[in-house]
Symmetry: C2
Subunit: 411 residues, 2 copies
């Protein structure tokens, strides 16, 4: 029996993750996968977390095994407010400006639910973070994409589009603009300070809410830390999302939403109807961890690990890809990804079968487009494979490109 | 600054939980609260869970601290499939018929998202479980309510309404019927076997999907265990929800959805866009617990505890409420609640201020209506207060009723 005929519009329009489909075979031991943005388990402080897990179940059981509030653990909130001050220099976040979510993904879903209707307009960067697209899409808004440049969003393009929408009387339909300013997923670029200021100026002028997603910000390898949009413009203009997934562990599924109390209040009401609350256990584990350990210090070996892997990947690309005329790649200042663009004519989804045959996996650029636009680009994650596998994987990729290029008469 | 002017229809129509508002002051040490349906922390197997928590973080860290699949932990699935067979006699549940969710609440939200549109019709029992109403409401369906009787849903009423809808050509709009057959929240009644069979017969005739929610089924004090609707009619007719919140611990936030693989597949796709996955840690803790401990056996002292509390509450009601002419209450065969109905003229929400002054808390029946209908009923949870506080609380409630009744000229 099929239930397709009674599905809702949302139910009918769900799409299975292309990334998931592509990476089905990436788990075999011979495969080298630059696919998922999955952190290296060696960076997880498992001994400390194991001790804390035992302790908070044993001692705080009437909290950690019980229902919690929708807003989340107050002890964790105390720690996060301190951490926000430390990493962003935001000194004045109040408890009612903070909501804990199941990863940032739930915060994206919450933003969609409380702001987006069918006739709403939602701005995204292009290429786009797919998780955001899939969350927003369930409200069927109109997507507007702003191209990414080497120093972040093309703010001139954005300004023109907003001017046009304003002229057409549609500016009120723009509910928010979503951006990943640091070490973008997938484009790996970082928005310059000048563009951050310009973006805020434009959004102030047209009264556009900014949704700033910063899961990778603490993973900086080089260059100067830039102020967050939230730090520059405050909660009247910006909602800030962050997550422990890339800097502590994804397994706890702790995301957070920082913003104006009136937005957080609505998001909390929606979350209450969606799942009542996040697990109290995982939140209290994180709270105790932050009470006892200096996350910024603890993260340093992890940053070194990722920097080493990133350097290895860039060296391998320099060595093997330099002869591919027209190919280019971003050397990211942080994060988990390198965005590689091949010469015109290449189609990285078409090339995927060749890659599969050679047992090397990447995410084709098409996966980061809203309407499945063919793409010459691909995202390479360097976070999970060991360094020697990164070198070998890039070598395999070069062979893939050479074979596909020959087959298609591109090289 | 307010963001109200740019909220979506969902955002604008969110309602803050009336229960939450009512119970704000119920936490003071002098208060006796029959409010929340919160399990007694003494029933949580904290020592075993503490050991397991430590072990699975230490040893399974590359799973428990990492991202998981949207479907959830396969080891937990193995255990749940066994448990479903043991408690329901359902022998043939496949892995692709099972999805783990953040409590049952998320499963309710998933059902709403994949099935309900604005013109959909959704059947509920009256009084209704509020969590279901708040989840379903975000899709703005038309609610149809079926009155509850002492032996469950008034299936004759349901049959008439379906006949009328069929005559009006609206039967295809009915997306599902939601029911809590065992120890209903809040009405505390249990659907008889005869009615279960009749309900299925009616739903077969009109091709209505049944959403069966059974969080309390394992907490039976007396009477014979009745077959679940899922057991009687299978996945072509029924989606079964269950949860560990009332039988192990709510803090893990583990709910589950069992149904036809085509429904589970859609729900999984929606969940992926909503939060990617539940925490791997909490799922693996539950899996190891079920591998090593017999949940059914372990639950026995908890059932005895609740039975004792329920008996105490019923004795206290018999003693103190018998003189209130026209008052009646259900002596439930299991679960966590007693549903008390006062004589005509009483309004349990109007009476709440008197109760607050006397430091005793309950949930007024109005909270379980869809359009805030005044009610003579109230829900009393006996699960949390110790027995002597239950006796004292019922005594206070009698004083509340007497005072309110005198003030309103009802007694």
């Amino acid at each position: 029996m099929s239930f397709e005929d009674r599905l809702s519009e949302v139910g009918l329009n769900l799409r299975s993750s292309i990334i998931r489909e592509l990476l089905k075979f990436a788990a075999s031991p011979e495969a080298i996968s630059f696919g998922g943005g999955v952190p290296d388990p060696n960076t997880f402080p498992r001994h400390q977390l194991a001790e804390i897990a035992k302790e908070v179940v044993e001692q705080d059981y009437s909290y950690t095994l019980q229902y919690g509030t929708t807003e989340g653990d107050d002890l964790l909130a105390v720690q996060i407010i301190k951490l926000l001050n430390r990493i962003y220099g935001i000194a004045d976040v109040q408890r009612d400006q903070l909501l804990f979510t199941t990863g940032s993904q739930q915060a994206l879903d919450l933003m969609a639910r409380i702001f987006l209707d069918k006739d709403s307009i939602c701005f995204l960067e292009f290429p786009a973070y797919l998780g955001a697209v899939s969350a927003f899409r369930m409200s069927f808004p109109r997507f507007e994409t702003v191209p990414l440049e080497d120093d972040g969003m093309d703010v001139g393009y954005l300004e023109n589009r907003l001017r046009e929408l304003d002229a057409k009387g549609e500016i009120k339909k723009v509910k928010f603009l979503y951006t990943v300013p640091n070490f973008h997923n997938p484009a790996s670029v970082t928005m310059s300070l000048e563009k951050r200021k310009k973006l805020i100026e434009i959004c102030d002028r047209y009264d556009i809410l900014i949704l700033e997603d910063d899961p990778y910000g603490m993973l900086r390898f080089s260059g100067e830390r830039l102020p967050s949009l939230y730090k520059l413009a405050g909660p009247d203009r910006v909602v800030l999302l962050n997550s422990f997934s890339k800097v502590l562990t994804p397994g706890l599924r702790i995301g957070m939403m920082v913003g104006h109390s009136s937005i957080i209040r609505r998001a909390t009401m929606a979350k209450q109807a969606m799942d009542l609350c996040c697990p109290t256990l995982t939140q209290r584990i994180a709270a105790r961890y932050l009470e006892r350990h200096d996350l910024v210090e603890q993260l340093k070996p992890g940053i070194e690990l990722y920097r080493g892997k990133k350097d290895t990947m860039i060296r391998a690309l320099n060595e093997h890809f330099s002869e591919i005329k027209g190919a280019k790649w971003v050397d990211p200042e942080g994060g988990l990804f390198v965005w590689v663009t091949l010469p015109q004519g290449f189609d990285t989804i078409g090339m995927f079968d060749v890659a599969k045959a050679k047992n090397v996996y990447y995410i084709p650029g098409e996966a980061f487009s809203i309407e499945k636009t063919p793409s010459t680009s691909m995202r390479l994650s360097f976070c999970l494979p060991p360094e020697e596998r990164i070198v070998e994987g890039v070598r395999r990729l070069k062979d893939v490109i050479a074979q596909y290029g020959r087959e298609k008469g591109l090289m």
